[in-house]
């Protein structure tokens, strides 16, 4: 039997389908009261009465939380309700593409990527100030509008931080590839978790590389928890050096040393943007009559490498890009016969003769004693 086509949800007249997700369908709908076209996100409520009640409660809680957010970088939620076993959320209808689609064509222009990252950080900062954590920041939840405006969508998974609702009642929320280590571990998360996720998205926007890829979910989760990233400037040398520090800080596994505020991240991205724009301006201003020869300035290098505390026996530290160590590396890779002897053995105790030659204090003691012994011998025997 063919399913009945949905034409009305609550007071909204359904105009068409915009997309389908794991939780429900998103419709294009019209609000006749305000004569406004909206995006209507529906969520199928559970058939089980207990589960349904719990789910409905959670949905309304989230919808209320999202409704508090009015910001240029957050999709506005107008209304929510329930109709015929469906919970729905009426949201601002946006014309544009989502970031996931955009990233399918590879890395973004650095300025565009930084602008998007900055806007998302601004939006998150606004939500975090109101105690709301998104918990599912990923390219699919970031909408890119014309004129480069970015909007965070789907605060449907957000929870009231202050209310401290249970997050893991056996259910894993969020996308593993963009999850924070604490989220993967099932630990309580706060707003800093969103900043980690934004760090992952930022990395992908800048380099086109998906950071924590893996064959399956456990592999991805392992990578999120343990794998260190390669600094973006390793992959894209044209990026400003400071971006390595920004990304490294956003992607700290320990939330205590990560960015503590989204606004701080936004501000640092702004600094990177200014540097990039200044650089772009300089290259544009070099006219045809005067040729400017660009001298490579030292790009600050960076922390893809682990910090002192995190270094273990099997931890690799990369060669510095600022110093040419090739001669010594060559010596280590293919040691000469002498080096093989010298560098392979553990330090030995120093013999008396060597000590006498090199150690002034020992020399003084031995020579004084020797002279006294000779003098004493002479006195005794002469």
């Amino acid at each position: 039997m063919a399913k009945k086509k949905t034409t009305q949800i609550g007071r909204y007249k359904v105009l068409g389908e915009l997309g389908r997700g794991a939780m429900g369908i998103v419709y294009r709908a019209k609000d006749p009261a305000l004569d406004r076209v909206v995006a209507l996100k529906t969520i199928i409520l559970s058939d089980d009465a207990d589960g349904r009640e719990e789910y409905q409660k959670r949905f309304f809680l989230e919808a209320r939380a999202a409704g508090k957010l009015t910001h240029p970088n957050i999709v506005t939620t107008y209304d929510f309700g329930e109709h015929d076993g469906l919970a729905y959320l009426a949201m601002e209808l946006l014309e544009g593409t989502d970031l996931r689609e955009r990233l399918q064509h590879g890395a973004m222009n650095p300025i565009e990527a930084l602008e998007t990252g900055q806007q998302v950080a601004e939006g998150l900062g606004f939500a975090h100030e109101r105690g709301i954590v998104h918990r599912d920041i990923k390219p699919g939840n970031i909408m890119l509008l014309d004129r480069g405006q970015a909007k965070i969508m789907d605060f449907g998974l957000a929870r009231m931080r202050a209310a401290d609702h249970k997050t893991s009642t056996g259910m894993v929320l969020g996308t593993p590839k963009y999850m924070s280590p604490e989220q993967v571990a099932g630990q309580p998360v706060d707003h800093r978790s969103d900043l980690f996720s934004l760090g992952v998205v930022l990395y992908e926007m800048l380099t086109g590389v998906r950071l924590f890829a893996g064959e399956d979910t456990p592999h991805i989760m392992h990578n999120v928890t343990y794998a260190e990233h390669e600094p973006p400037t390793y992959l894209k040398p044209e990026l400003p050096g400071m971006i390595d520090f920004v990304v490294a800080r956003a992607l700290k596994k320990d939330p205590a040393v990560r960015y503590q505020e989204a606004y701080e991240l936004a501000s640092d991205l702004g600094t990177c943007l200014a540097e990039l724009r200044a650089r772009a301006g300089m290259s544009e201003s070099s006219g045809s009559t005067t040729r400017t020869v660009k001298i490579e300035t030292s790009v600050p290098t960076v922390p893809d490498a682990p910090a002192a505390r995190a270094i273990g026996f099997d931890t690799r530290l990369p060669f510095s890009r600022q110093f040419d160590s090739s001669a010594a590396v060559e010596r280590l890779a293919a040691p000469s016969r002498g080096d093989r002897v010298r560098l392979a053995r553990a330090p030995r105790p120093v013999g008396w003769l060597r000590r006498l030659r090199h150690d002034a204090a020992t020399r003084w003691f031995v020579l004084t004693t020797l002279a006294a012994a000779l003098a004493g011998g002479y006195v005794a025997l002469a």
């Binding site: 290098t301 002192a308 990369p318 280590l332 330090p347 204090a361």
Partner: protein, 233 residues
């Protein structure tokens, strides 16, 4: 590719790096690079490898522990210029990691130096026992300047016996050796005298010494007089 070889590792750690703002991190790292450039210039490029760490840098020095110690001390002097550094030194195994040409180094030599740097207070260095032994072999006597700071346990529950530099320690040791030398000299001379007295008896020995003294004094007097006359002429 070779297996692991032993080298001295200087781990320079910027204190509280992760908690600083990104712009400060960039500034401090640039400052650290300048410090490493200046200090590493003393070493032969064929005997030093500079590595990047998340919160600092590691310099692997081949076959020159004394050079490694000097490098660490000079780098720490940059603390006066506002670079909050701490240093850890170790002598241990390092190995090229990655592909044939390698992309970095790994090994216990680096891990222990990092642990030592982690324990070091601001503007100070801590060296492992292995480094002290290597230093003793390379430059006997210099290791005396490293005195025991204690045993520290890292988060992996590994205990490290660490040493800190003490400028006075070498001077104190030299004083002790001088004192011991003087004492030994006195004992040996007294032994010689005692042996002679035991063989000849006290009186003949004293008389012989006095006679010797007189003849020496007379000789000295004669020499002195001759010298004065010579000068007069």
């Amino acid at each position: 590719m070779s297996g692991s070889l032993l080298a001295s590792v200087v781990f320079l750690k910027i204190q509280e790096f992760a908690r600083r703002s990104v712009s400060e991190q960039a500034r401090l790292r640039a400052q650290l690079e300048a410090v490493v450039a200046v200090t590493a210039a003393e070493l032969d490029p064929a005997s030093r490898i500079v590595l990047e760490a998340g919160d600092g840098a590691a310099i692997v020095v081949l076959a020159d522990p004394h050079g490694a110690l000097r490098l660490a001390e000079r780098a720490l002097s940059a603390c006066a210029a506002g670079l909050p550094l701490a240093a850890g030194l170790n002598h241990g195994a390092v190995q090229i990691a990655g592909r044939k040409d390698g992309t970095g180094l790994t090994g216990d030599g680096i891990a222990v130096a990092a642990a030592a740097a982690e324990f070091a207070p601001p503007a100070r260095l801590l060296a492992s026992r292995a480094f002290r032994d290597a230093l003793a072999e390379a430059a006997p006597g210099v290791e005396a300047a490293l005195v025991k700071a204690g045993t520290f346990t890292d988060p992996g529950l590994r205990a490290h016996e660490l040493y800190r530099p003490d400028g006075e320690a070498a001077r104190r040791r030299a004083g002790r050796y001088a004192l011991a030398g003087a004492a030994a000299a006195i004992v040996l001379l007294a032994g010689g005298v005692a042996a002679r007295i035991a063989a000849e008896g006290q009186q003949p020995f004293i008389e012989a010494v006095v006679a010797k003294y007189r003849s020496t004094a007379q000789q000295g007097e004669g020499y002195w007089r001759a010298l004065v006359q010579k000068v007069r002429f």
